[in-house]
Subunit: 453 residues, 2 copies
């Protein structure tokens, strides 16, 4: 047995039926040419039969799970791989809609704490011949970004490679081009929180000041909306891809960053969705946006710092171009606040932005009566090139994040070789017709293209 760091046990302690603390991801693959009926079954059998499992995927809370188990890890040496890796299929007519329904169910159920905290589902039966893999991992063992990295590390740029391991396998993945290097915001933020007590009070004070300043630059505090309510345990999941090229064009015409375009697209969709629900507040929505920041130190240590920026989404603004402009300025202002802060202070400031997400029990954190932001929108880099897994081309990576009380909707997207893949998670009770968000996102992108032409 092994003591659990507080950053791990935090997620076990916070978990309840209404608050599953796992992150998930849905991957779509095209079968290779000439693949037969039993292609997915064969891959599955090979994995199950040959796999030596990594220690990380054998970790489980110690027994009894409700007391000791929240503080100690133990190792499951009799791992029942059949239990963790499962096969499913889609009912007729096998559209993406049926896939999303199935994913919604899986994403809304708790992992079994008596076993290592992960599950992988192979899904057949898509009418277009593709297949899908949905994976869920408890946040106590892997954050979303690390989980994505584990998964993408198994991919190859070689379509003929047939020795790609599964994420849980001990077998090493092939070395790949250095171009692909996903960040690990959440891991760093978690580390910051874990080491919180060790920080000198002066560093805390400086970060606190920057935090107050950032909140003052926003036109108003985030309004209370239908997204900021207590949540239930069931989930809805929606996912869709859009061509990266569209985003690049808008970015170029409007002189913004690619992430600004993504945020403006989300803002437009949220505005339309809230109008449809007769729930659009007068004040603009505020998003919490994890973002890469190149601090003055960055050149020296060659690394990046990650900040959690509060962004004014300008959902009160009917004009898409002006909305994009406001978002661009808000993001630039947010980044400016991080300038001149040491990496430790950047970390602290980010941790404070993340804090109301449920981390408030951490000592020194502030409690708010109003939400400091309405939702989290994260943009996670995916593989930059076309990649394959045992010959099957990766055709989509849709992250499924976790929700907390007061945060009933989450948008996380990956930027891949030639597309942007959106994964949207909503509380089943409080966010009706989540699938409509996909339509609104599509409209918002078209409007932006038109407005910046």
């Amino acid at each position: 047995m092994q003591m659990m760091p507080v950053t791990d046990s935090m997620f076990l302690l916070m978990e309840s039926r209404e608050h599953p603390m796992h992150v998930g991801g849905l991957q779509l693959f095209k079968k290779p040419e000439g693949a037969g009926e039993d292609y997915v079954h064969t891959i599955y059998r090979n994995l199950i039969d040959s796999a030596e499992v990594r220690p990380l995927f054998k970790k489980r809370p110690a027994a009894p799970v409700n007391s000791l188990g929240q503080w100690m890890w133990s190792t499951d040496n009799r791992l029942d791989l059949d239990y963790h890796v499962r096969r499913s299929a889609l009912p007729n007519p096998g559209r993406i809609r049926e896939l999303l329904e199935l994913t919604s169910r899986w994403h809304g159920s708790l992992l079994d704490r008596h076993r290592p905290l992960w599950e992988t589902h192979f899904v057949e039966g898509l009418s277009d011949g593709r297949f899908a893999i949905y994976t869920k991992v408890h946040h106590a063992i892997l954050d979303g970004i690390s989980a994505l990295r584990h998964m993408t590390n198994t991919l190859s740029e070689d379509p003929t490679a047939r020795d790609c391991p599964a994420p849980w396998e001990l077998r090493a993945a092939r070395p790949r081009s250095a171009a692909f290097n996903p960040l690990s915001f959440a891991r760093s933020a978690g580390r910051a929180l874990g080491e919180f007590a060790a920080f000198p009070p002066t560093a805390l004070r400086a970060a606190n000041q920057a935090f107050r300043e950032q909140r003052l630059t926003l036109p108003l505090q985030a309004p209370k909306t239908m997204l900021n309510v207590p949540i239930g345990g069931a989930r809805r999941f929606a996912a869709q891809s859009w061509p990266l090229e569209s985003f690049r064009k808008i970015k170029k015409s409007a002189g913004t960053t690619l992430n600004d375009v993504v945020l403006a697209m989300c803002a437009g969709a949220l505005r339309d969705y809230l109008i449809e629900q007769r729930a659009l507040p007068d004040a603009p929505l505020t998003a919490m946006v994890p973002a890469t920041l190149r601090t003055p130190d960055a050149a020296e240590d060659g690394g990046n710092s990650i900040g959690a920026i509060l962004c004014n989404l300008a959902t009160n603004e009917p004009d898409p171009a002006r909305r994009l402009e406001t978002i661009k300025n808000s993001m630039a202002d947010g980044k400016k606040l991080f300038e001149g802060l040491s990496p430790v202070q950047v970390m602290l400031l980010s941790a404070m932005n993340v804090a109301p997400l449920g981390l408030s029990p951490v000592p020194g954190m502030v409690n708010y009566t109003r939400p400091p932001f309405n939702l989290v929108i994260s943009n996670v880099p995916g593989p930059r090139t076309t990649t394959y897994w045992n010959g099957a081309e990766l055709d989509g990576v849709y992250p499924a994040s976790l929700l907390m009380d007061g945060q009933a909707l989450n948008i996380t997207l990956t930027t891949r070789a030639d597309s942007v893949d959106f994964g949207i998670v909503g509380c089943r009770q409080s966010i009706p017709h989540l699938q409509r968000m996909l339509l609104h996102l599509d409209t918002a992108l078209t409007e932006l293209e038109f407005a910046t032409r």
Copy 2:
């Protein structure tokens, strides 16, 4: 809100991740002639669109579920039928094996206490063209037998009937022949426990005496076996049908009851399974068998009494014919004990036999250090004639019961028009290779046929 009777809340209080307190059932159907690809989807849509839900299926524990909710029922007036009734399909190659894997998973996960405590899964993709329905219901709202009755009540003897409702629908089922009238042992036993405190001490004393006597008639106390261990939350489910005709022949040749033959078949299979696992105890296994008893009063009130009989399975006996003989005598002895007892006393005696199954917190119940029996084997009457549901012929009804600590295996079967359908539930951690039981059952039946020819 409505106070919950203690017989309901008992099952909520006893429930934990390791001890899901729902019962389930898997039904197989043959599609009607000329049914298209979207036959199951169409049935599903019709049900979802038209259904008015019965109050029983809208009951959920009051909020907050962990304190008040274990004592009060409330009504969910915004029932999300889409959440409760789900569609799935089998992965390639779509055998019964894949169906059982899926059912095992569903049977091993907890129901969401924030919603009415039931789920129904429509399953397509069986390679032989049949489809399946798996239903799970919390024991707090329906016991297994009542759940089965709810389901079979929706069936029709008319293959052309297309107006069969779903079990949760308010729409009344068609009246059917009186020949089919399933018993409700568990409900009665539950009632007995609930009213326990109200019984006069003399009735308790008489039943207690009969209980002691019954235990003395057994050659030994039930041995400790691998079936009698603490359990985990995950399950394995196995199911198969055998022709009723085979059982009838053996019954006739050996001069036993049909249930004796069923018990002898289970005994043979258990013996082979335990030998294979190198875990056969020297002493014979004891089964708890719910059985119909015609008491002297029965003629007067026209009703049946149900008893819980402890049966010596003679698993130490290699000869199938002698095993059957021992079982026949043991069951006859057990029934004799109930003679002369009033229906209330019969109920009490049964309740005491059931008590160690986890009902020991009920006052007046005895605690045992050794199991009074090794497993429960129940035989539940199903429809006696060929029945249809919206044109689809019922081709199997496999009950999936609940397990408790010390009871890691359960066998429940239904006797139908022309077959006996076995449903076997095992704890995934402690009962390896549960599917082997099906093979052993098949061998045991063949051996009995041969031995009694």
